[in-house]
Symmetry: C2
Subunit: 213 residues, 2 copies
DNA sequence: TAGATTGTTAATCGATTAACAATC
DNA sequence: TAGATTGTTAATCGATTAACAATC
């Protein structure tokens, strides 16, 4: 079956559709046209229809899209229609912030453990779980069939740890370290480079003043 | 002067160039060609030259780019060649994580205050600063001429608070709340929607299994 | 000077938008 | 049925890549 490659631009937008549809559901709205949704999301109706039709014809001529249905379909596409076990590497502030983020659990991401090398924090309870020593990564990944790991340690140790995670069976790395990790093609990385994000903000703020001239 | 609009794709890549050049400097490398850099960054040499030439001719034929010089130039472009005062709204885990993130200070982002509505955390010292009550936002923004604010509170209160921040003179909002904020055209927003990032990771992990079929 | 590599123009590729026939 | 709105094809726009003359 010839599967057309989905572009990064589309993948980027998918969770945003999901969020808007969720909000609409909460407001009790039942159906929406691509035109109405395009106004809310500040996209073109054309783009919405093109994006969705990468995955199937979820709408109905003359009616639009059923919000609940489309929300469910996107959940399936995003692979969040079932639960995923997850671990966090690094119990620093960021690791703890993620562990306490109840929204993730709501979306089906279950945090099974946090790992840290510092004996002082090992055993500490954070969110629904606790901090384990790095030596137990292997064991816990295998016990809970963990496929996802958030990496919240400095770049130097991150490289080694990620190798280990992959060897133990993790296939999705949520990387908060300031490195571009090299991984085999059957492993995916999603980078969250916060300082780069802040620099982009800084660039745009600079533009405002530049444009004034 | 006709200033050509810089595309989002270029802005997206700028901080990454900056990071690679910084790493090269740390390694003591003095010069690099677009070709060599393209191999490290997994881009095309053409793209690198095109990107940089949006801002000026920083290279030299037959030689390449002087790393220190290019690093400095990009810092100027990114508007990080001078310090910026910044505040954080919300002293939850994420707000605290950001406040403790020493990398920001290194890049010239000085966190002047964290604000929270919870009396229990007010006065608490975090990183180089402390937690103030929300009532003092106005005063502190004006005292320190704060232009940047990181918003780390839930979406419901975020909308109102952001209005206030803008009224008080903030022009750059680093938004971690799960909303798309409406702001005037002389204010910029950089969104960090962590749950959407996690969903993209989830999508890609799903793809791996899908592709196996 | 000869070799290397840029800056820049032209060609290609891909993503977005427009248009409209199909159909609920 | 008439009106609305999709799914999809075609047109446009923009970004990436290729090519090469300029020049250090």
């Amino acid at each position: 079956m010839a599967k057309k490659e989905i572009s990064q631009a589309v993948i980027q937008r998918l969770p945003r559709y999901y969020r808007y549809l969720g909000d609409l559901m909460d407001q009790g709205v039942e159906r929406i046209s691509s035109n109405e949704l395009s106004k809310r999301m500040k996209l073109t109706a054309s783009q919405i229809r093109q994006d969705l039709n990468n995955f199937g014809g979820f709408g109905q001529q003359g009616y639009g899209y059923n919000i609940k249905n489309l929300h469910d379909e996107i959940a399936k596409i995003l692979n969040i229609d079932e639960e995923h076990n997850m671990i966090i590497i690094g119990a620093g502030h960021l690791g703890q912030a993620l562990a306490n983020y109840t929204n993730f659990r709501k979306r089906g991401f279950i945090i099974k453990a946090i790992f840290d090398k510092d004996p002082a924090v090992i055993g500490k309870h954070i969110g629904d779980t606790e901090v384990f020593p790095m030596e137990r990564i292997d064991e816990i990944i295998r016990t809970y069939d963990v496929k996802l790991a958030a990496v919240c340690i400095p770049k130097a140790p991150a490289v080694k740890v990620v190798e280990q995670l992959i060897a133990d069976g993790v296939v999705g790395i949520w990387n908060f370290a300031h490195v571009d990790l090299e991984v085999p093609s059957n492993v995916v990385i999603e980078n969250v480079h916060l300082s780069e994000s802040l620099m982009r903000l800084s660039y745009r703020v600079g533009e405002i003043y530049r444009d004034k001239k």
